[in-house]
């Protein structure tokens, strides 16, 4: 069951997401140059963080079941 630790990890992830996805951290990457393979910083940053968040959730849920 999803008790205690997994729940805490998810809440941590939520808080991390709130901070990473908003001002002022967001403004650090809010520029069109330099780009990464042509893609602006902002886009790379947002999608990277997003992917990591979803991956983190999947890891907590699916990995947590085994341990």
């Amino acid at each position: 069951m999803q008790k205690g630790l997994s729940g805490q990890r998810l809440v941590t992830l939520f808080l991390a997401g709130m901070v990473l996805f908003n001002f002022p951290l967001l403004s650090l990457f809010d520029r069109s140059a330099p780009d990464i393979g042509g893609v602006p910083m902002l886009y790379v940053y947002v999608f990277l963080v997003w992917t990591m968040l979803v991956g983190g959730m999947a890891l907590i849920i699916e990995g947590g079941g085994r341990s």
């Binding site: 809440v11 908003n22 520029r31 042509g38 602006p40 902002l42 979803v54 849920i61």
Partner: protein, 917 residues
């Protein structure tokens, strides 16, 4: 080119496929082999969140302001991280109390109030109808694009008559929703076939959008990097690469994040799929990542498509909302365009179906039924089966909502009021947040608070968001926004009290939630919760500890079970009601319904059954009309709550008690062992005493009998035998005395005659009394005293007894004629010690402990000492009574030394208890 007919046919074929899937899902559900009992299906059904507004509108927003649309999907991603806290609790509460809509949720929590349920339903309806219109519009404009202008069907599709394709689709959706949404009245109000179709639709729309995304990115351009590099050359497009190009972009971003975070739980359709249709609460776990992953995937190509479209058609050339269709069409890829259109159709229909079911449930249970029951109460009372009426109301509501949506679409057209409705709708349902979260986590919220809060929030929302959207649509004077109503500047809807610096959405959300929360708190503080509110509050907040099994009912009624079955039967159908009650009766241990007593929990069961069908507030009213309700006060509710918590505490205690019982059993067993041991010791003691008594008696009897019977025994023997008889009698007397003495000391019945004692006098007295006996045996005694001996507080005669015992003991073991007893006294400030040393054979180490046991005698076997075996144990008891100790040191062959020492400071008040028994 695609013909209009083929598009209509394709659309209808797709809808037919949905019907088939839904039908299959329902059939499997009836067979008990659910196809939606799967975490991935549950996760996909949550993706009903992505509507046509996502499918077409995201590209449009990206084309005008970059990724500022993204928080609409980031919010739910973050919200899902908290799903295990929030969603799980919502699901548990709803399952436990048969809650079937968000209106019912709030109404049930705040005192099962009709008014509150009605208000929530109205807010949901107002927020939903334009949203449904938006979906219809998306479908309609999609068809417009696909069908060539010269097609025979074109003028029909363009809405050139009373009948058009959009209406056809709206009616088809109504049919679908009625068919799979109101197939039967279920107490749990779940629609498996519908959910299966929705999950399938989620796959279709994702597939369609990914297809167009990949087509634009990799076929029209050379990948994402290529699109961005080319776009970067255009300053107008480069502007979209960053966020901070408008005022308050970050504020708007934050507002959107929070708003959509709420929406993922609060939108009626989300509540429907996430809470009401949840089959198994464990599905929530996997959905926590499946749904956000879905959102991530569907958003991957939004910006590339937008940039691609802008570069292809030029800025301002074609409506960016239509890029997903116009891009393939302009490259003559009709099949792809049709696929993408089907994807968009699925996004629109999915939303419409679920939203309509959700809102129609609210309208039926929280708006229509209360009115029907109130107005037509008497007429309905005669009606035996109301299931037909209920289903008719539901179906009517569904049709009405869809038609309202269609009418709104026709009226609003391209107006801002329709285009911007997505976020306006979000902001409307955000008004549920304080009451809903308060319902689950705060006991203090009351009906009045929720009513005030919702009303205030709804009014401010209408004034700051809905009204401006009407003004922007040209339906109201635009001066309302610029000048304020009647020219009052500080009442300008988008700058309330002159507030600036916030975008209109953030502005509206701030003021509406400010008013909402403020009124909620103020209303809750206005008066204390009444009985029903307090009861429901505890049942919601403590749902995890208080699920159905506990069966706490906060009102008491008495009535006939038959009446209740009939009542429930009127709404669920007699057979279903009968079955449900019978199952419940068996659970409770009754064989049939007639045996069952209508206690409060049966009444509550009836209420919960009804709640699923007609909402908790109506259910309560109906049950109350059937059974006689006893007025129940807040004190009594608290008592029931206490009882319930006591039951919990009691079961907890029981567990602890059973553990304690085990421990006690173990203790008892141990105690029993000790008792047995003591018993054995007592038996041994009795047996020893018996033995010691019988032995002298044996001699006495034997000699007496012989003397008595045999007159021929010569004088010498007679004398000898009589002497033995006398000595054995003495021994017997001594033994009896000592056994009694021992028993007295052990039971604490001795009366100690304590006084100041000089131990030298004690020893002197004892030595004097044995001196003659020693002399007779030819033994010598030597006494040695220190100069100063502190006085002791003790019983003089008892101490004499001790010393006497040690002396006679020593005398027994010391050799006759050559025996020497040495008595040596030493003293320091704390204790006085006496050693009695003999020159006998000594005592082996193994025996040194034994000699202090009762009836144990040491010494040479042949020359058995004439003792009782009680002298040393008694002496030791006496010495220990005065706080001292008695012991022996000896080596075999070197005599034995018996020593005792007594502390100087001993006072009997410290052991006063010993004397009083």
């Amino acid at each position: 080119m695609l013909s209009g007919l083929s598009i209509v046919l394709a659309s209808l074929a797709y809808l037919g496929l949905l019907f088939a899937i839904a039908h299959f899902g329902d059939r499997r559900a009836d067979q008990g082999r659910s196809i939606i009992d799967n975490a991935y299906v549950y996760g996909l059904s949550l993706a009903v969140y992505c509507t046509a507004w996502t499918y077409f509108g995201s590209v449009g927003r990206a084309a005008s302001s970059g990724i500022s649309f993204l928080p609409v999907y980031l919010g739910p991603t973050l919200g899902m991280a908290l799903a295990w806290l929030i969603l799980l609790k919502m699901v548990r509460i709803s399952k436990a109390y048969r809650i079937t809509s968000i209106a019912d949720f709030i109404a049930s929590r705040y005192g099962k109030s009709h008014v509150l349920g009605g208000l929530v339903s109205v807010i949901a309806l107002i927020g939903t109808v334009p949203y449904i219109a938006l979906q219809l519009k998306a479908v309609s404009s999609g068809i417009d694009l696909l069908v060539p202008a010269d097609d025979a069907l074109a003028h029909v599709a363009n809405g050139g008559g009373w009948f058009d394709t959009t209406l056809l689709i709206a009616l088809a959706l109504a049919a679908f929703t009625i068919l799979f949404g109101t197939r039967h009245l279920d107490a749990a109000e779940r629609h498996e076939g519908m959910v299966a179709a929705i999950a399938f639709e989620s796959l279709v729309k994702l597939g369609g959008f990914l297809a167009i995304g990949i087509y634009v990115t990799y076929f029209l351009y050379d990948g994402v990097g290529d699109i961005f590099r080319r776009a970067a050359e255009d300053p107008a497009l480069r502007r979209l690469f960053t966020l901070a190009h408008g005022n308050g972009a970050y504020g708007n971003w934050f507002t959107l994040t929070v708003l959509s975070m709420f929406s993922v739980f609060l939108l009626p359709r989300q509540f429907q799929v996430a809470v009401v249709e949840n089959v198994n609460e464990h599905h929530i776990r996997r959905a926590i990542w499946v749904f956000p992953a879905y959102l991530l995937l569907i958003n991957l190509f939004v910006v590339p498509i937008a940039l691609g479209g802008l570069m292809h058609f030029g800025v301002g050339g074609v409506d960016p909302d239509t890029f997903v269709l116009t891009l393939p069409l302009s490259h003559d890829h009709q099949a792809l365009a049709l696929l993408v259109f089907i994807g968009g159709l699925s996004a629109a229909t999915g939303m419409v179906i679920v939203e309509t079911i959700a809102v129609s449930t609210m309208v039926c249970n929280d708006l229509v039924m209360p009115l029907v029951l109130r107005i037509g109460g008497l007429g309905l009372a005669r009606e035996r089966d109301l299931t037909g009426l209920l289903l008719t109301i539901r179906r009517g509501a569904i049709l009405l909502i869809l038609l309202l949506g269609y009418v709104y679409y026709q009226v609003a057209g391209e107006a801002y009021a329709l285009v911007g409705i997505g976020l306006i709708s979000f902001a409307a349902v955000a008004q549920f947040a304080p009451a809903l979260l308060g319902a689950m986590y705060w006991r203090g919220g009351t009906h009045l608070g929720a009513l005030w809060g919702l009303s205030a929030g709804f009014l401010v929302w209408g004034y700051t968001l809905l009204l401006p959207s009407f003004a922007k649509s040209g339906w109201l004077d635009a001066s309302l926004l610029t000048e304020g109503p009647w020219g009052i500047g500080w009442l300008r809807p988008e700058h309330l009290f002159g507030m600036t610096g916030l975008d209109n959405l953030s502005h509206a959300l701030f003021w509406s939630l400010f008013a909402n929360c403020g009124a909620f708190l103020a209303g809750s503080a206005f008066r204390p919760p009444n009985a029903v509110e307090a009861g429901q509050a505890t049942m919601f907040v403590d749902v995890a500890r208080r699920t159905a099994g506990v069966g706490t009912s906060f009102w008491r009624g008495t009535g006939q079970v038959r009446d209740l079955v009939t009542l429930v039967g009127r709404f669920l159908g007699p057979q279903r009601a009968e079955d449900a009650f019978l199952r419940y009766a068996r659970l409770r241990g009754w064989n049939n319904l007639d045996e069952m007593e209508a206690d409060p929990s049966v009444v509550q069961f009836a209420e919960i059954q009804l709640a699923g069908a007609i909402g908790s507030a109506s259910a309560r009213a109906m049950v109350a009309s059937t059974v006689k309700e006893e007025v129940i006060g807040i004190d009594e509710v608290m008592e029931i709550l206490d009882e319930a918590s006591q039951v919990r505490a009691y079961s907890h205690q029981l567990e602890e008690k059973s553990r304690a019982l085990e421990a006690a059993t173990a203790e008892l067993r141990a105690a029993n062992e000790r008792m047995k041991e003591l018993d054995r010791l007592k038996d041994d003691f009795m047996s020893s005493v018996s033995h010691e008594l019988r032995t002298p008696l044996t001699s006495i009897r034997a000699f007496s009998e012989m003397l008595c019977e045999d007159p021929k025994i010569d004088l010498e023997d007679r004398k000898r035998f009589l002497g033995i008889i006398v000595s054995e009698t003495v021994r017997l007397t001594r033994l009896v005395n000592q056994v009694l003495d021992m028993a007295k000391i052990e039971s604490g019945h001795v009366e100690w005659q304590n006084a100041e004692v000089d131990l030298r006098e004690v020893v002197t007295q004892a030595v004097d009394s044995v001196s003659q006996m020693l002399k007779d045996r030819g033994q010598e005694v030597r006494v040695q005293f220190p100069e100063i001996v502190p006085l002791l507080w003790a019983d003089r005669d008892r101490l004499v007894q001790v010393v006497l015992n040690l002396l006679s003991n020593g005398s027994k073991f010391a050799p006759k004629e050559a025996g020497v007893l040495e008595v040596r006294m030493t003293a320091d400030g704390e204790r006085v010690r006496v050693d009695v040393k003999d020159n006998g054979p000594g005592i082996a180490a193994a025996e040194q402990g034994l000699i202090f046991e009762k009836f144990r005698q040491g010494g040479d076997i042949r020359d058995k000492p004439q003792g009782t075996g009680l002298g040393l144990p008694i002496s030791r008891q006496i010495v220990e009574h005065f706080g001292g100790r008695l012991w022996v040191t000896s080596e075999v062959g070197a005599g034995a030394t018996f020593s005792f020492e007594l502390p100087v400071g001993w006072r009997d008040d410290a052991t006063a208890g010993d004397n009083q028994t």
